[in-house]
């Protein structure tokens, strides 16, 4: 865990606190525990050396940011810095979907087949 505290802000280095590839939603819980230990009004998630953040993890991070930022008591402003282009793009896609959810009516119509026919086709 690496936390750097300046006057009004605490910086949390995500790569050192977690991993260089952030996959799971659980990491938001880990970061929330670190946030609880801070006494500054602002917390900065530093993504230096983080190479990739999954869509699920990006969603969990944005939900965390909103929830902590809108609390009545012990509210904290969370910001993200030093995110590479790919992480930035992932956060933007998820944030855009949160703001304006896509119409999710997608119909999946696969061809239906039995195993024998599939194996015959593959042979």
């Amino acid at each position: 865990m690496e936390i750097d505290k300046k006057q009004h802000s605490t910086k949390i280095n995500i790569a050192k606190s977690s991993a260089t590839i952030i996959s799971s939603r659980d990491m938001a819980d880990v970061l929330e525990e670190l946030i609880k230990k801070t006494d500054t009004e602002s917390v900065v998630f530093d993504f230096s050396d983080v190479k990739f953040v999954s869509r699920s993890a990006a969603h969990a991070l944005l939900v965390l940011k909103e929830r902590i930022g809108s609390r009545v008591s012990n509210k904290k402003k969370i910001s993200f810095v030093n995110a590479n282009n790919d992480i930035t793009e992932m956060l933007r896609i998820v944030a855009a979907n949160r703001a304006l959810p896509k119409n999710k009516s997608f119909k999946f119509n696969p061809e239906k087949i039995d195993i024998k026919s599939l194996l015959k086709q593959a042979a």
Partner: protein, 181 residues
């Protein structure tokens, strides 16, 4: 082996696995996202949905054929039981897979449900020439390129889920964002 409650240790193990896969495929600049995305999304689903504390992930590279296979497995409740327990839906294995591919998550959050479909799209479309198989219960989804087939497996039953996919060695940068919806 991935275990629930591993916290940061599990995250680091998954990161090491993804990095190794990327390195094995030649560390092609601009392709790391495409390699990492399905691993991240599909492995995380073990702990989000299976109700088991253990999952498995395996990779095998075929250097003469220039492709790599990955398999992500859990012995959890499977798709149909997840829909039954979380949404009180009585679905066949086939309908449960279709429901998942249509993005209807068992979670209440309307923004969930993208992981499996978008991972399949990255494997089959972004990583040109990829193939994707998803098995739960007695049904399998087999996707290669644009072709999607749902296969009944009457003499086979897997209690949890098996996801296996094959990705060709990337030859250049890959844009996954148009497949992420």
């Amino acid at each position: 082996m991935l275990t629930r409650g591993g916290g940061v240790d599990r995250e680091r193990l998954e990161a090491l696995f993804s990095e190794k896969i990327y390195e094995t495929l030649g560390s092609i600049s601009g392709a790391q996202n495409a390699v990492c995305y399905p691993i991240a999304e599909l492995a995380t689903n073990i702990f989000e949905h299976s109700k088991k504390d253990l999952g498995f992930i395996f990779g095998q590279f075929y250097p003469k054929k220039d492709y790599l296979d990955i398999c992500i497995v859990d012995c959890g409740r499977g798709f149909a039981r997840a829909y039954k327990e979380e949404k009180e839906l009585d679905l066949t294995d086939e309908k449960a897979l279709i429901e998942a591919m249509e993005g209807n998550s068992v979670k209440k959050d309307k923004e969930r449900g993208y992981g499996i479909r978008t991972s399949k799209n990255v494997v089959c479309n972004a990583l040109k020439g990829g193939g994707f198989i998803l098995i739960s219960g007695s049904c399998a989804l087999v996707s290669v390129g644009q072709r999607e087939r749902l296969v009944s497996l009457p003499n086979f039953y897997w209690k949890g889920s098996i996801i296996a996919y094959r990705i060709p060695k990337p030859t250049g940068s890959i844009d996954i964002y148009k497949y992420l919806e």
